[in-house]
């Protein structure tokens, strides 16, 4: 059992107008086997949290800590964080021209495990995972994300989740831009991995609809860089009915 602990995290970015604080004291603890949903209006800092955990250089941690079983995540480079077991399913996966999916997946798996995967099993695993996510077999020979539709890119993120088997998965608006069928397929992938009982999940979303397929244990409402309210799955239901308006009214500083 592992624990990812975020304590009183303050994060800023540098803009043309100077430094801008995005996260203003976020605390959150996720254990193996738990699914936490983070919901909130646009600009509330949800994606900043995801990118900060993964170590994107655009974000500066001003204070606070992130630890994984007590290890200081903030002291790790981007690749070290991944090898420690953190996985970020990106909101906008980039295209990497010239690098085939096959080559990329094998290179990443080798780096994550510290040794090359057994070729026979690996090929079989990749094929099976692709077919479960209804990704066409010829994608393996295509360049990473190149020319993929938005939905295809998201499926490929979940494909990596299933193949890399992280200790903690952070899904950054994986549901946005997906039609209902794709949403189901992607959710099934996350649930399959989650059911193995060795992963904690942080699900970041703007909408409640993905929560019909992926059941959260905890729901946190993000407003203006802080957690404004926390609760169980019933909080998501309330949000679906009421929207974010009552939070916006309570905190006039929110920028949409």
């Amino acid at each position: 059992m592992s624990t990812l602990e975020i304590k009183d995290l303050y994060v800023s970015i540098v803009t043309e107008q100077g430094s801008k604080q995005i996260l203003k004291g976020v605390s959150l603890t996720i254990n193996t086997g738990e699914t936490h949903a983070i919901m909130g209006p646009n600009g509330s800092g949800k994606s900043t949290l995801a990118s900060t955990i993964a170590g994107h250089p655009r974000y500066t941690v001003d204070s606070g800590s992130i630890t994984l079983d007590g290890e200081d995540v903030l002291a790790m480079s981007v690749d070290e964080r991944a090898r420690a077991g953190l996985f970020l399913a990106m909101q906008y996966p980039v295209e990497v021209p010239g690098v085939t999916m096959t080559n990329f997946l094998r290179t990443a798996k080798t780096a994550l495990d510290g040794k090359a995967p057994s070729l026979r099993h690996w090929t079989k695993d990749v094929k099976q995972a692709m077919s479960q996510l209804r990704i066409d077999a010829d994608f393996a020979q295509r360049n990473v994300n190149e020319g993929f539709s938005g939905g295809e890119k998201k499926r490929v993120e979940i494909l990596q989740l299933e193949l890399f088997r992280p200790r903690f998965a952070i899904l950054d608006e994986t549901d946005s831009g997906l039609d209902v069928d794709a949403l189901k397929v992607v959710s099934e992938g996350v649930n399959r991995e989650h059911a193995k009982g060795e992963m904690g999940t942080l699900l970041i979303t703007h909408y409640t609809r993905i929560l019909r397929y992926i059941k959260p244990d905890f729901v946190h409402v993000f407003v203006d860089g802080r957690i404004a309210e926390e609760g169980g799955p019933e909080l998501a239901d309330r949000l679906e009915e009421e929207g974010y308006d009552r939070f916006a009214a309570a905190t006039p500083a929110v920028e949409a």
């Binding site: 690749d79 980039v94 990497v96 990329f104 290179t107 780096a111 994550l112």
Partner: protein
């Protein structure tokens, strides 16, 4: 009544591009020290009055500003002649020589080209013809006319030519390899002719290695309906100087693919051109160049759409690493008034891997008719894309491996176009060695 449009998007970039401002956002890019190649001004103009490459002269701005040079009004009007005396001695101010460090040509533009030159050996396919012919052979001049002084000098100095012929209606039973091996650094001339007969199919690899000071003319005749691929590989020794005109004449409904791979040599300057002579033909021109410290790799292309309904695609990609690595890409596309239905696109991409590198990229498009399918060009030069690096590193891949993966990915697109497995493998390995040499 010709409707003429001229587009020129010139860009010079020295590494690292715009690095200082976004220091924060970099994952592992080279340091942001100001970088330039000694002797080159920011405008990418001549090095000096004589293009000598000396630091003192080079810092002078607009060094050709006071020169009595009239720029050519159209690429199509450039002087073509078989007579050396028609071309004035080079000064470095000429539009087509302004990026070339003449002082490193080792006399190729001034001395008689009397060296023995590299040896030529042709191997591979058994159902083709290879001949060595004298200077009076009628095939000499069938596809090319010199467009610059060095090409004209080589034309005059070459003692005959090596002619590779793929007979009409013949599919070469293997790829043809023309091994050009240099062992002598005296300035020399060489003339090669590749003639693909009507409806023939072949792949011809020009494999350059060793040490030379070489002015080369290569004529390529692509017969009606022929499908010809010519790959020119420059894996010269570090001290080689190679100036090569590679002109192709494209017949009706022909398919021509030209691939340049320049890795070795001190100074390599290629001028590949494709001239359409009849409708329905398609040309693809690819290039890959990898310049290390001190290397000058230059390519100046021309695609001449002189007839209707032809299609051309140009893709050149380069990587640069080390102090003084310099690449030049100039892509001229000419769509003449008669060339209705033309479809053309050219693209150049450069990746600056370290400080101290410089890449010049100049796409030119001249359009004399509006009745075309499409015409476009693009050029981009930059450092590593930090978002690519982040994506790969976020999957556990260490920075150095991620960088290599990206560079490999960036350049192998061109290698994959060769479709000769053994050569593709060899070049992929050569690329790995380049990457390893740069500590990437």
């Amino acid at each position: 009544m010709a409707e003429a449009t001229k587009m020129n998007h010139e860009a010079s970039t020295t590494g690292p591009a715009g690095a200082a401002a976004d220091e924060k956002a970099r994952i592992g890019a080279p340091s942001s020290a100001p970088a330039a190649i000694a002797g080159f001004s920011e405008e990418g103009e001549s090095l000096s009055e004589l293009n000598t490459g000396s630091i003192q002269h080079g810092l002078k701005k607009h060094s050709h500003g006071n020169a009595p040079v009239v720029p050519e009004a159209s690429r199509g009007e450039r002087l073509k002649s078989y007579n050396l005396s028609d071309f004035a001695p080079l000064t470095g101010r000429e539009e087509d020589w302004r990026f070339t460090p003449l002082n490193r040509l080792r006399g190729l533009h001034t001395e008689p080209l009397t060296g023995t030159g590299p040896s030529v050996q042709v191997s591979g396919a058994s159902n083709i013809q290879v001949e060595t012919v004298g200077g009076s052979d009628a095939r000499i001049g069938s596809a090319a006319t010199p467009e610059d002084r060095i090409s004209a000098a080589a034309w005059a100095a070459a003692d005959g030519a090596t002619v590779v012929t793929i007979p009409a209606n013949t599919v070469a039973d293997a790829e043809v390899t023309v091994t050009v091996l240099g062992a002598d650094k005296a300035p020399a001339a060489q003339h090669l002719i590749i003639e693909a007969g009507a409806f023939s199919t072949a792949v011809v690899v020009l494999d350059h290695s060793g040490s030379v000071t070489l002015a080369q003319n290569i004529e390529i005749v692509v017969g009606d309906g022929a499908q010809l691929t010519v790959v020119s590989v420059q894996e010269w020794d570090d001290d080689a100087v190679h100036v090569s005109s590679q002109q192709a004449k494209i017949g009706r409904d022909a398919r021509f693919k030209h691939v340049v791979v320049s890795l070795g040599g001190d100074l390599v300057r290629l001028t590949p051109s494709s001239v359409f002579t009849a409708p329905g033909a398609e040309v693809e021109m690819y290039g890959l160049y990898f310049a290390d410290a001190g290397q000058h790799l230059e390519q100046r292309l021309l695609v001449d759409h002189a007839v209707p309904n032809c299609k051309s695609r140009v893709t050149y990609k380069g990587a640069l690493q080390g102090q003084g690595a310099h690449t030049v890409w100039v892509g001229d596309v000419l769509i003449r008034k008669e060339a209705e239905g033309t479809d053309t696109y050219e693209v150049n991409r450069n990746l600056l891997l370290t400080d101290g590198t410089r890449s010049d990229s100049v796409p030119n498009l001249e359009i004399e008719t509006g009745l075309i399918e499409g015409a476009g060009h693009a050029s981009a030069t930059g450092r590593f894309d930090d978002e690519h690096l982040f994506y790969l590193m976020a999957r556990g891949i260490p920075e150095q491996d991620a960088r290599r993966l990206v560079v490999r990915g960036f350049l192998t697109e061109v290698i994959q176009q060769i479709r000769v497995p053994a050569l593709e493998e060899r070049l992929a390995l050569a690329l790995e060695n380049e990457l390893a040499a740069g500590n990437l």
